[in-house]
Subunit: 354 residues, 2 copies
DNA sequence: GTGAAAGCGCTAACAG
DNA sequence: CTGTTAGCGCTTTCAC
């Protein structure tokens, strides 16, 4: 073992042994200097630090991880990184993680459970915790993961696993209030995927609260939570006239607006449209989309916060879900119901008569 | 050292020692079984595999990394993950990496050189290579990184560092061809950031090729490569009438379209607009944006490919940049020059007269 | 406080 | 092909 102290030869990255030799102390002392945050001003500590960064020493995180079983890495999995919805969450996670000295390992499941599972298997032994931005896994699949590493779920609740969600119910209420205030009385809800947790919550809230505002809501769907899902939704929506539609999310809402416009409807003159999330494109489309804003960035940041707390304390920490507030962003896609009969906007329909 | 073979006690994760003991072979044999891909069907190998996954054994990547100095992690840094441009690149990287058994470590520099530098310092010792999707670092800063780990740069060339770029020149040519074909003779180029590599290349190509198509191009800017940069660009553009504008990228183009529309201009009747990249929002805006498509996903995938090749071979592998083809996507934002005089569309300007 | 020594779980060089 | 033996660079008892 004497060879370890043989000095900083070659272009090799220096180790604690090199530093120890150069500073005339034992390796363990060097180690303490870099792992004990308290020990910053002792006589020797200072000398060691000086020698260290003069030598260009950096602690090797892999070696540290092996002996501590802490990697300072957390994984975040999303279904589609190119979806602005997830991008914002990731940013929040990233920011919160960096702030706490953690690095983020990204997993894009590409909407596939198989890919997610495999990536997770590979990443799990590498990370100290996982943020599930949107998982294709079943509740029990998630619990299995949670058994191996601390997990925080975003936008969904899984019993026994900490989670952060938005206040869907109050979001729905503000949307209803807005629409009812404009004079709408009959609404369509363009539903999201069958298995979607937020979809269930939103629809339930809609059904329960509609009465309070004297409106009637019909559910149509399910539809894929994408723009093309919205395109399909538009086809269904127009079969069942209503003066306004509330979509599962912004993408569906945008798809609906586009398709309806193509079919000759004018928005909001003929139909008002409301989305959920307030992703960036919502303000780019014409007209701008009125939507219930979900604090995506905050969700991500809160999720890491919770995760790191869990990692810190030993116990699994299973409280109720953290719930974040929403607010309604009003843009051009909603207005008072048009003078037109809900049926008229179908007249410019070209070639879909059965 | 005898304690290692003491068997799979407790809830502890099994190690090669546990497997070795259970299978009645030496630890090194187990190790070989999992690290040599060839050795899959030998008599013992099979037994070991059986025992292993019966015990639930998984190789510990951290320990492996410590002794091989290969982590199977690659870092990808981008300036803003919520920018659809980078999202697509990341997806490409992610896909290519997963395919080769690598996991991706994400760094969002949030447009800040300091954040990028710090994150890189933390991540560098952890990864086998780096894809620089968009770096805020100077060329020499990048070379410094490249000295520590293999690096591939996307959308920029740095001498001595491998890179993948798009064929900007031919992209510019097709745009010019399209516009000239429609009858435009006087164009404005809304430039990107001063320091941007693609901006320089595009402007140079524009200047050199304009003559071939009998058109004149004036450069205006620089502008930030964002929608609000485009808003500002619009203000400048309208001072110097031209029948069409080519923007540095889609975001600037979209910003220009929005602002110009607000000012009363009609697109493409009064002004045609062409962008670069073909990010998703380009087809969502009204009218759709005609743009030079950059194969973002392919760029990401190619970049990892190059990176992994570099990691594989010992030598730094410093060839010429890989260049990927572009194609023009024609949408509604371009048309023949309107009957109006280029000056007329300014008339509905409300309240900006000096 | 500091030093010595024993691992973390794996791979790699070397014999047999 | 298999077993033996050193480490990879760091943390962590355990003595002093």
């Amino acid at each position: 073992m004497g060879s370890k102290g043989s000095g900083p030869d070659g272009g090799r990255t220096p180790t604690i042994y090199d530093v120890a030799a150069a500073a005339g102390v034992a390796p363990s002392t060097v180690s303490r200097t870099f792992s004990r945050p308290g020990r910053v001003n002792s006589e020797t500590a200072q000398r060691i630090r000086a020698v260290a960064d003069q030598l260009g020493y950096r602690v090797n995180p892999v070696a540290r991880a092996l002996s501590t079983s802490r990697t300072s890495l957390i994984a975040v999995v999303v279904a589609d990184i190119s979806n602005p919805f997830f991008a914002a969450i990731i940013r929040g996670v990233q920011a919160g993680a960096a702030q706490a000295g953690y690095t983020v390992l990204l997993i894009d499941s590409e909407e596939s459970e198989a890919i997610e599972r495999e990536a997770l298997i590979r990443a799990l032994p590498l990370v100290d915790g996982v943020v599930l931005g949107s998982s294709r896994l079943s509740d029990s699949g998630i619990r299995t993961v949670a058994k191996q590493r601390p997990v925080v779920v975003v936008n969904r609740t899984v019993s026994g696993v900490p989670s952060v969600v938005i206040d869907n119910r109050s979001g729905v209420r503000t949307a209803l209030e807005h629409l009812a205030g404009l004079g709408h009385q009959r609404l369509t809800y363009a539903a999201g995927p069958e298995a979607s947790w937020p979809d269930g919550v939103r629809w339930r809230a809609l059904r329960e609260l509609a009465g309070n505002f004297g409106v009637r809501v019909d559910r149509r769907g399910p539809f894929a939570p994408t723009i093309s899902g919205g395109t399909r939704a538009a086809e269904v929506v127009r079969q069942h006239p209503a003066s306004a539609v509330i979509a599962y999310n912004d993408q569906v809402a945008i798809g609906i607006m586009r398709r309806l416009t193509q079919l000759g409807a004018r928005i909001p003159a003929n139909v008002s449209v409301v989305g959920f999330d307030n992703i960036l494109p919502a303000e780019l489309v014409t007209p701008g989309l009125t939507t219930v804003e979900a604090p995506l960035y905050a969700q991500g940041k809160t999720a890491v916060g919770t995760l790191l707390a869990t990692i810190g304390s030993a116990r699994p920490q299973t409280g109720p879900a953290v719930v974040l507030p929403t607010r309604l962003v009003v843009r051009g896609s909603t207005a008072v119901p048009g003078a037109y009969d809900p049926a008229t906007w179908q007249i410019s329909d070209a070639g879909t008569s059965p």
